[in-house]
Amino acid sequence: MKENPAQQSIRDRLEPGLISVEGFLGTDKRPLADIIAADTGEVEAAGLTVRQLGEFLENLHQTADAGWEGRVPAYNGKVSVRADETLGKIPCPFTCGASCHKAVVGVKDADGNDLLNFTPLAAHLIAVHGFFEGKGSPCRIEPKKLIELYRFCTEEAG
């Protein structure tokens, strides 16, 4: 499907070198709308919404932020989070006006095993734009992996 000028303008901002070195599309050649539709479809098939998942990540980031680069327990200690932040903010490539902290948030389980690393911008892109980034992008989060983490953190035991 051909992209309209607005989609093309967003796609241009997702390319390498404009907002980040490698950009947000990786090796994915599909139209932006197809990338979003495929990932959103996977999330909805699991009975969830992209907003739920994105806000879940934003919540983990906020918890980590309160810890000032220390590791902080979240979701009753099922996981711990830590934000490695640097100065400045990064704008949303969808030009919605949002800008996010420059950080990598690391999520570990109670035994200290790495579960997920994500950026606050990735959380925003999922929550607001349903965009998990293109295949091969350094910051892409696979929907399946995120759904598993969401369920692990939010569902009651037993």
């Binding site: 907002i19 980040s20 070195v21 490698e22 932020d65 903010k89 800008s99 420059k102």
Partner: protein, 366 residues
């Protein structure tokens, strides 16, 4: 046969449309020369239309602070635009209050110059200068932080106030289509007017820091402009708390050098947060400041020391360590430099511990 005629016609029509689009783009997007009328005509600049107002002013030698390099994320490049501006853009809205919108304030990195514009620019910004410097040295301070020392052109000098920042240009490289500017706090001893020192931490996927870490080398030419910012020490004489981790140490290196030069003996505690010993930087310099400034204390604090760090210093969250060292903050001042998350967490902890919010200062671009 009919089929091939139809296909041929379609291709021809598409070709004609493409040519028309190119021609339209060439002529409709050509805004010609536009006039920037600054401060009621006190200064006028003619610029090529089509660029952002920030870029146009830069090319006319008027440098407006922009920590994010024109990406619309820092909100620093606010100017009053009285005429010639297009309607407010969604990317400007989060940075502008209702009062500012009513007062014609705009983000000049987002506006494009399409016609003559009338602007208001604070006089002090006309003193900002651009320099063609040279990379004198690039030194590892730890595994992900470097100190960049820039020599200014022979015979040129730059007077700074400790706490200020400058912008450096990253040229086109690898996949970046155009040069970008980023802001960094100045770490220089203010007595040295011929160099600029910066402390730069590698940002994963960051355009400017990746360039510094992977491409920059001694002797390279580097464009910079500044100084900017009003983050600076007060003259109240109150006891001070500095809080910063990583590259946030930069302004404090400059402030402490200034205190040493001027023999300012204010009681000062610097809480430096890091994960493990490998993340600490400038320990020798801090020790030298402690010796020169008897009322100065450097308190490194590790959140996750490694077993072989053999660390017997402070551990835990910096904000908790500050509480332990300074139980009553009500008559003290705090100076912060770090990520937005660090600044937010510190402000919350300091105010909860009795420090008035007006006594807390931090880099606005953080």
């Amino acid at each position: 046969m009919t089929f091939w005629i139809a296909v041929g016609s379609l291709v021809a029509i598409c070709g004609i449309l493409a040519v028309l689009l190119v021609i339209a783009d060439r002529y409709l997007n050509n805004y010609g020369i536009c006039k920037l009328i600054i401060n009621k005509g006190a200064r006028e600049e003619e610029v090529e239309g089509g660029d952002t107002l920030l870029g146009s002013l830069n090319s006319a030698g008027v440098f407006i602070p922009s920590a994010c390099g024109g990406q619309g994320s820092c909100g620093l490049c606010k100017l009053k635009v009285h005429s010639g501006a297009p309607p407010l853009l969604p990317t400007e809205e989060p940075h502008l209050s209702k009062e500012e919108v009513a007062d014609h304030v705009r983000l000049c990195c987002q506006l494009k110059v399409h016609e003559d514009m009338e602007l208001e620019i604070p006089e002090e910004l006309f003193n900002i200068r651009e320099f063609d410097g040279t990379v004198e040295s690039l030194t590892d301070l730890n595994h992900d932080i470097k100190r960049l020392r820039i020599a200014l052109p022979e015979g040129d000098e730059l007077e700074i106030i400790p706490g200020q920042y400058i912008q450096i240009e990253t040229p086109k490289y690898k996949k970046t289509p155009e040069p970008v500017y980023r802001a960094y706090s100045i770490a220089t001893d203010p007595r040295d007017k011929t160099h600029i020192d910066l402390v730069i931490r590698l940002v994963p996927e960051g355009i400017c820091t990746t360039y510094v870490f992977e491409h920059m080398k001694d002797g390279d030419a580097i464009k910079l402009n500044g100084p900017y910012g009003d983050f600076r020490l007060t003259d109240t004489g109150k006891e001070m708390v500095f809080i910063a981790g990583g590259s946030g140490m930069a302004p404090f290196l400059s402030m402490l050098a200034h205190m040493k030069n001027e023999n300012i003996q204010r009681k000062t505690s610097y809480f430096f947060g890091a994960r493990a010993r490998r993340d600490l930087i400038c320990l020798d310099e801090m020790k030298a400041f402690e010796e020169a400034l008897p009322n100065f204390k450097f308190v490194p604090c590790l959140s996750e020391p490694m077993p072989d760090d053999n660390w017997d210093g402070e551990t835990g969250l910096v904000t908790d360590v500050v509480k332990r060292h300074c139980p009553d903050l009500s008559d003290m001042e705090a100076y912060l430099c770090g990520s937005p998350g660090m600044c937010d967490a510190s402000v919350a902890a300091l105010t909860a511990n009795g420090m008035p919010e007006e006594n807390i200062f931090f880099d606005k671009f953080a």
